[in-house]
């Protein structure tokens, strides 16, 4: 429970930090997203209800901060990002047995894939709303770039979060000692 609260606070802080990270011009203005990496770590290390809680929090913040209200219409309604985060976090949660056995590398890659999936889903939704769909080199980079960066920062982020999980005695730690605790968890 303590670790869940820690992750909520970190998600909130990461969302603020993202505002001040400029896009990478050498990567066609791809952006760095930290929040998905934290949420997907939570998806592997928390029980399912807490995962959904974290996904809700992250999705709500994303929607509340990015929803575009234009006259009498909203481009992407509040709730879609919650749904996206919930689905992707549930998928990551399904891979948890691998994580508990210490196979963290699969999750680093999956964090990147899921981060790109969020950006791609946003792009598809706004393209649908705006009535045209195209993919150019910039679009692909802006979709794939955040995923690649997430893959690169995930090992460090996971190491820090793993340390925090240990500090807060979270029972879902990815080591063999914690495996028994995982089995015993209700």
């Amino acid at each position: 429970m303590i670790f869940f609260v820690v992750l909520l606070i970190l998600t909130f802080l990461a969302q603020i930090v993202e505002f001040f990270i400029p896009p990478l011009d050498w990567m066609y203005d791809a952006r760095i997203y930290i929040v998905p990496v934290i949420v997907f770590y939570g998806a592997m290390s928390l029980p399912f209800p807490a995962v959904m809680g974290l996904a809700f929090f992250a999705g709500f913040m994303l929607d509340a901060l990015t929803a575009q209200v234009l006259g009498n219409r909203v481009e992407i309604s509040v709730g879609w990002s919650i749904l996206l985060y919930a689905v992707l976090a549930a998928i990551m949660h399904g891979l948890r047995p691998l994580f508990i056995k210490g196979r963290w590398e699969v999750h680093c890659i999956m964090s990147g894939v899921c981060t790109s999936a969020i950006v791609l889903a946003q792009y598809l939704m706004i393209s649908f709303r705006r009535g045209s769909l195209f993919f150019n080199r910039e679009a692909w980079w802006q979709i794939a770039g955040p995923g690649i960066i997430a893959i690169l920062i995930a090992p460090l982020a996971f190491w820090i979060l793993h340390w925090l999980a240990g500090l807060t005695r979270n029972p879902y730690r990815p080591d063999r000692d914690a495996y028994d605790a995982y089995d015993a968890y209700p």
């Binding site: 969302q15 603020i16 930090v17 993202e18 505002f19 001040f20 990270i21 400029p22 011009d25 066609y28 203005d29 791809a30 952006r31 399912f48 209800p49 959904m52 809680g53 809700f56 709500f60 913040m61 994303l62 929607d63 509340a64 901060l65 990015t66 929803a67 575009q68 209200v69 234009l70 006259g71 009498n72 219409r73 909203v74 481009e75 309604s77 509040v78 709730g79 879609w80 919650i82 749904l83 919930a86 950006v119 946003q122 792009y123 706004i126 393209s127 705006r130 150019n136 080199r137 910039e138 679009a139 980079w141 802006q142 979709i143 955040p146």
Partner: protein, 267 residues
């Protein structure tokens, strides 16, 4: 799946349905409320970023400082020379201003605002400014700098406002072109990979034949943007099957905005 997980999913589903039924007004209120909570963090973050930037730009090597000193001395001599000339120009400008009653004609009530954050998302181009309802700002008001149009206000909180930049595809501005009777709609691009985003000027006639470097101004149609504000400069022009399109370089450097003005009405 155990009972707790099922209950969690049901609760999450119910909340989702509730949120998805929000209309524009509900979303606007929710967003304004959330930004009100976030604004102290964004303001603090903005301040920290400025301090960090000033520290990193202030650190120079001795060699760089010597080089700067030499170039500043040259610049100083040059400025002294031009200063006298500018005094004459200033006098003339003041005279012309009085003659044209510029202040009476120019016309807008402007609320100065500071940019506190840029949108962190990939597909939307917005900024947050530190003024809101308390300062008389409302949705759909033009945001400008002394160089030209920046965008328009979207969601307005008590002390924070989200500004939709002119480089966003959803920000459409009716424009006229200098030296031409053509009118068109300027909008941003959905995907841009460069630091300086370009704008598209659409719905021009096939006979438009616009000159590159012609200036594009707001036409006043639509009611959001007053007429005569500089939007940008035409960079290229191409004729399409049914109409023609021009590419426009924005007058304002949207990537380095710090201070803007919200046009809250006419004087």
């Amino acid at each position: 799946m155990n009972r707790t997980s099922i209950i969690t999913l049901v609760v999450l589903g119910a909340i989702l349905v509730y949120f998805l039924t929000f209309g524009a007004e509900g979303t606007r209120k929710l967003q304004a409320g959330f930004y009100r909570v976030m604004s102290p963090f964004l303001s603090s973050g903005s301040g920290i970023k400025k301090q960090l930037t000033s520290v990193s730009t202030g650190l120079q090597t001795l060699e760089e400082l010597e080089k700067d000193n030499a170039s500043l001395k040259v610049e100083n001599r040059s400025l002294k020379a031009t200063n006298q000339a500018l005094r004459d120009v200033e006098h003339e400008v003041n005279r012309l201003r009085r003659a044209l009653a510029y202040r009476e004609r120019a016309l807008f009530r402007l609320v100065p605002a500071e940019v506190i954050a840029r949108d962190s998302s990939t597909w939307w181009r917005t900024i947050s400014i530190n003024r809101g309802k308390a300062d008389g700002i409302e949705p759909d008001q033009a945001v400008v700098t002394d160089e030209g149009v920046v965008g328009k206000t979207a969601t307005v909180g008590d002390n924070i406002t989200i500004v939709l930049l002119i480089s966003d595809e959803n920000c459409k501005v009716a424009c006229s072109i200098e030296g031409s009777r053509e009118q068109g709609i300027v909008s941003g691009e959905r995907v841009t990979g460069s630091i300086t985003p370009m704008l598209d000027l659409n719905f021009l006639s096939k006979q438009a034949n616009l000159n590159p470097s012609a200036k594009v101004y707001t036409s006043g149609v639509g009611g959001v943007f007053p007429s005569g504000l500089l939007v940008g400069t035409i960079q290229s022009f191409r004729v399409r099957e049914l109409d023609s399109q021009a590419r426009v370089t924005p007058a304002v450097d949207l990537s380095h905005l710090e201070d803007v003005f919200v046009v809250t009405g006419r004087k």
